[in-house]
């Protein structure tokens, strides 16, 4: 399963990380988040060049608020710490890959 990171880790693991990082803002009680989880795990397993992390919005509301998250799951793609793409809702693998490739 993709690693859940805290607000404290966000700076080093996402904002200061070189290359592509996909962040899944999720909640433990959110059904669609559970539906998305194995799809993200597959994407992570098959694409070593992309780091995939999860942010629990209840544990890290500050990070969620910073990115204007008002729906879970929200996926945000960072390249060299900059937001380049984002989407909401559970989606199949080809959509996630398209989001990463855009």
């Amino acid at each position: 399963m993709s690693e859940v990171i805290s607000s404290a880790d966000f700076q080093s693991k996402v904002l200061e990380a070189p290359g592509k990082v996909l962040v899944d803002f999720f909640a433990t009680w959110c059904g669609p988040c559970r539906m998305l989880a194995p799809v993200l795990d597959e994407v992570a397993a098959e694409n070593a060049a992309v780091k995939v992390y999860k942010v629990d919005i209840d544990q890290s509301p500050d990070v969620a608020a910073r990115y204007g998250v008002t729906s879970v799951p929200t996926l945000v793609v960072f390249v060299d710490g900059q937001v380049v793409n984002q989407t909401v809702g559970a989606q199949p693998k080809q959509n996630i890959l398209a989001l990463l490739n855009a």
Partner: protein, 320 residues
């Protein structure tokens, strides 16, 4: 950098199986279980996690034999483990098209193609959109189809729910606990929701019912929902509700777009099939919420799955 979009499946000749089940909700998981258990080589296609709508249901109160201590998610995971134990192989790919005119049928995903002697369509349904301008772009910016997922972001704010069935009323009851005020917007002058919900609704003093009203436009400020414009269908009067979020619960839409005219659908898009799941094509079956029927529940979905797999096995026997 190009990401790995080509799985192994693209490189090889499509493999042929006895049964392809499309969709791993309760109907598809049960169909796959029955299929594999009767000796059919079975592939189960799922675009997300197995479980379907059932996995997103917190408390399943009406599945016989299970008390409310079992969540829909847990039940779905058990169904999947059980099917897997009988040899069902799950393919986590979305079926984007089928060709039912060739034998064996051809099933395509963005990552490859597969052939199957029999097909069971069990793709279920997803929440319908209202069709308002900018509804899509505002998803995640105040437009939501899941009150229990997103309600918390609007704690202490005013919100609106559009709809009049069980889901809409359950959403209102849930949201009334966390939001300041909840409007329920319904196009008729009475609710379709089950009676027990009416009583719970009446006890809430921060809920306002907007009868005979349709949502016509989302009011947008700074790229987010700031309100919704209503029109009263009887008086033609307009009104704007200043709300931070609009929760849309106007029913479900069957996931049948990928069939693209290959199977006969009713006017709402449900697959026309009998109780055994038989469609007009002798080797193609439909099971669960995607099929024309009166009651769409977990218990009817699993029953459909068992029927359809039995009909598929019968078809293969008869062909031998």
């Amino acid at each position: 950098m190009d990401l790995n979009t080509s799985g192994d499946a693209l490189a090889r000749e499509p493999e042929t199986v006895d049964l392809a089940v499309i969709g791993a909700g309760p109907a598809g998981m049960t169909a796959a279980l029955y299929g594999a258990r009767s000796g059919l080589t079975t592939l189960l296609f799922e675009r997300l996690s197995p479980g379907g709508q059932c996995a997103t249901t917190e408390h399943l109160e009406n599945y016989p034999g299970y008390s409310d201590s079992t969540s829909g998610f847990d039940l779905a995971m058990k169904m999947h483990a059980q099917a897997s134990a009988f040899g069902v192989r799950t393919v986590t790919e979305e079926v984007t098209s089928v060709d039912l005119s060739v034998t064996p049928n051809l099933i395509a995903t963005p990552f490859g193609s597969y052939r199957a002697r029999t097909v069971i369509v069990a793709t279920g349904a997803t929440p319908a959109q209202l069709g308002l301008p900018h509804e899509d772009e505002l998803r995640g910016r105040g437009v939501s189809y899941c009150a229990t997922c997103d309600g918390n972001f609007f704690r202490g704010r005013d919100v609106a729910v559009i709809g009049g069935g069980d889901t809409a009323v359950a959403d209102v009851i849930y949201l009334a606990r966390i939001c300041r005020k909840v409007y329920l917007v319904h196009r008729r002058d009475k609710l379709r929701a089950t009676a027990i919900y009416h009583e719970r609704l009446r006890q809430l003093d921060n809920v306002e019912l907007c009868w005979d009203s349709v949502a016509e436009e989302l009011v947008v400020e700074d790229g987010r929902v700031a309100g919704v414009r209503l029109r009263n269908v009887k008086t033609d009067e307009g009104r704007v509700l200043d709300v931070a979020a609009v929760f849309i619960a106007v029913g479900m839409r069957p996931n049948t777009a990928f069939l693209a005219g290959d199977l006969e659908l009713d006017q709402s898009g449900y697959v026309i099939a009998d109780e055994m799941g038989r469609t007009a094509m002798p080797n193609v079956f439909a099971a669960g919420d995607v099929r024309v029927k009166e009651l769409r529940q977990v218990v009817t979905a699993v029953a459909d799955g068992a029927n359809a797999a039995t009909a598929a096995a019968d078809y293969l026997d008869w062909r031998k």
